[in-house]
């Protein structure tokens, strides 16, 4: 994600590190699956653009629902909109250093 996050967005992104891709056993933030995250404090909305490592990934439901639940626990009462996006397609380069290290260890 190439943008400056507000403290609240930073907090949410940190919490999303607890959402794990069950196939790879690495969190979705370090995998680079979170493309965008915007919190509108006035409208009380959260918009998250999420992708999967492969468009056919059968565990997509689990990942999006876990993301929704985690967001709700950090920002109760906010309207949450999670969009699955496929452009640009996910690639290895989108992972963080921590993500790569975790995958190499597994």
């Amino acid at each position: 994600m190439n943008k400056i996050l507000t403290p609240k967005e930073e907090e949410l992104l940190k919490a999303l590190k607890d959402v794990i891709d069950p196939e790879l056993m690495v969190n979705i933030v370090d995998l680079g699956l979170v493309y965008d995250l915007t919190i509108d404090e006035e409208k009380k909305t959260v918009n998250i653009d999420l992708t999967l490592t492969s468009p056919g990934c059968p565990l997509g439901d689990m990942i999006t629902e876990d993301t929704r639940q985690m967001t709700d626990s950090v920002l109760p009462g906010y309207e949450i909109d999670i969009k699955l996006v496929w452009n640009p397609p996910w690639s290895f380069e989108m992972m963080t250093e921590d993500g790569r290290n975790a995958l190499y260890r597994r």
Binding site: S54, G60, D61, M62, Q69, F92, L103, Y104
Partner: protein, 427 residues
């Protein structure tokens, strides 16, 4: 927006019976290996080996593939299955057909029961083919994987139709071609046309997905597709016309086609992001290594570079055993751990996601036992091949015992997955 694969998933009631039936058949086959090891140390055209081969081909491999495809086609083509009712009818028909055909071979009787069994098999395959083609028709995805899968289904229809023709020809001969040549034709339409192409179509999508490999050269798959199909056509027509150079040409093309696919798998393996393979992928990769054995043997048989002499028949039995019990069985046992836990997990935990810490799909079975399953399977398979080559019944029996232990563990884990009850983990 593109739909999630899990939203397209069929109900588990469609898929799971295929896995249970298949595993029971594979369990029965290992008991038959222990009880009748002699079947593996004589000419392959013997009642028991023919019966065991059909149990494996129809009851274990095709059965599991049907079940798995009902789950995987929606993933690969990103669309819902055309009809669940057709799947259930096809399952019942295939189960009956498989039992009747295998019993007929065991008794070496080719009239009433065999014809009925072949008819059930043709019905099962026809319903399956209609279901898959109707599903694919609704999909906008025009990928090479789709091409492999649909072509493999066409070869499956051809294989069972040829099988039925053979069954009729055995009771009332009307074809002038040698029966053994017709048997090779039927077997290879099934092995290369159906099993191999289906495996290529599915695994070229799933393997990169499971081990996370990107930027792969898909041209290898396209070349593989044309080489395999042109080669197989040449092989089958030449066998029927008893034209040896055409058979050799066909085998060389098919081997080249399989080599391009193996090169794709190797590229995926080298470029994988997930460095350590889990058990399911380990067993799958071992399966691809096993595939090298029949590929090399097929070249030995047709090139006549090496006079196999007295080893010709044992090598032919080893060739078939490596394909059915080695390559395909290993792949199925490995991939079961990559597909079935997810199917059951989805059924048990749909709607519960995000409402507490849930187990992962891999927590639905015992990894330690699955590991033990793999390490009894490998020596079991190796001793089977040694027993076949040395024409030694005792070694074949030992292999049967090892394979029985392996499949028993597999069956235990399978049932553990299927009977999983919902649990919530506490942090």
């Amino acid at each position: 927006m593109q739909q999630l694969a899990s939203q397209n998933a069929p109900s588990p009631g469609v898929v799971v019976p295929h896995f249970i039936f298949g595993a029971v058949v594979w369990l029965c086959v290992t008991i038959l290996i222990i009880s009748f090891p002699g079947a593996f140390v004589q000419h392959y055209f013997n009642p028991r080996l023919l019966s065991i081969t059909h149990l494996l081909a129809l009851g274990w491999i095709t059965m599991i593939i049907f079940g798995a495809l009902y789950q995987l086609v929606p993933v690969i083509l990103e669309i819902k299955l055309f009809s669940e009712k057709l799947s259930v009818t096809s399952f019942v028909s295939l189960a009956i057909g498989c039992i009747l055909i295998s019993v007929s071979f065991w008794k070496f009787q080719f009239s009433g029961m065999m014809h009925a069994g072949a008819t059930f098999a043709v019905i099962a395959v026809s319903l399956f083919a209609v279901n898959i083609f109707a599903t694919a028709r609704n999909s906008a995805k025009k990928t090479i994987e789709r091409k492999f899968i649909l072509t493999s289904v066409v070869w499956l229809v051809f294989t069972v139709s040829a099988g039925m023709t053979l069954a009729i020809n055995l009771s009332s001969p009307f074809l002038e071609v040698s029966h053994l040549e017709l048997l090779k034709l039927h077997a290879h339409a099934g092995i290369v046309g159906w099993f191999m192409q289906l495996i290529i179509g599915v695994s070229s999508k799933l393997i990169p997905m499971f081990i996370v490999s990107h930027h792969l050269n898909e041209n290898k798959l396209r070349i593989s597709y044309y080489l395999i199909n042109i080669g197989l056509l040449s092989f089958i027509i030449s066998l029927f016309l008893e034209y040896t150079p055409g058979v050799l040409f066909g085998v060389i093309l098919v081997v080249a086609g399989i080599s391009f696919f193996l090169s794709f798998v190797y590229e995926a393996y080298k470029k994988r992001v997930k460095r350590n393979l889990d058990l399911g992928m380990k067993q799958s990769m071992i399966a691809f290594l096993m595939l090298l054995i029949p590929v090399l043997l097929s070249l030995v048989f047709v090139s006549e570079l090496w006079d196999t002499g007295k080893l010709t028949i044992p090598l032919a039995v080893a060739y078939g055993s490596t394909i059915f019990i080695g390559f395909i069985t290993s792949l199925i046992m490995g991939q079961t751990y990559k597909t079935l836990p997810f199917i059951i997990w989805l059924k048990v935990y749909r709607g519960k996601v995000g409402k507490g810490k849930l187990p992962f799909p891999k927590d639905l079975y015992s990894e330690k036992l699955a590991d033990f399953q793999l390490w009894t399977f490998i020596p079991g398979f190796a001793t089977l091949i040694v027993g076949i080559i040395l024409l030694n019944k005792i070694i074949v029996t030992i292999s049967g015992i090892l394979l029985l232990i392996s499949v028993s563990i597999y069956f235990f884990n399978l049932m553990k997955i299927i009977l999983h009850k919902p649990i919530t983990l506490h942090e």
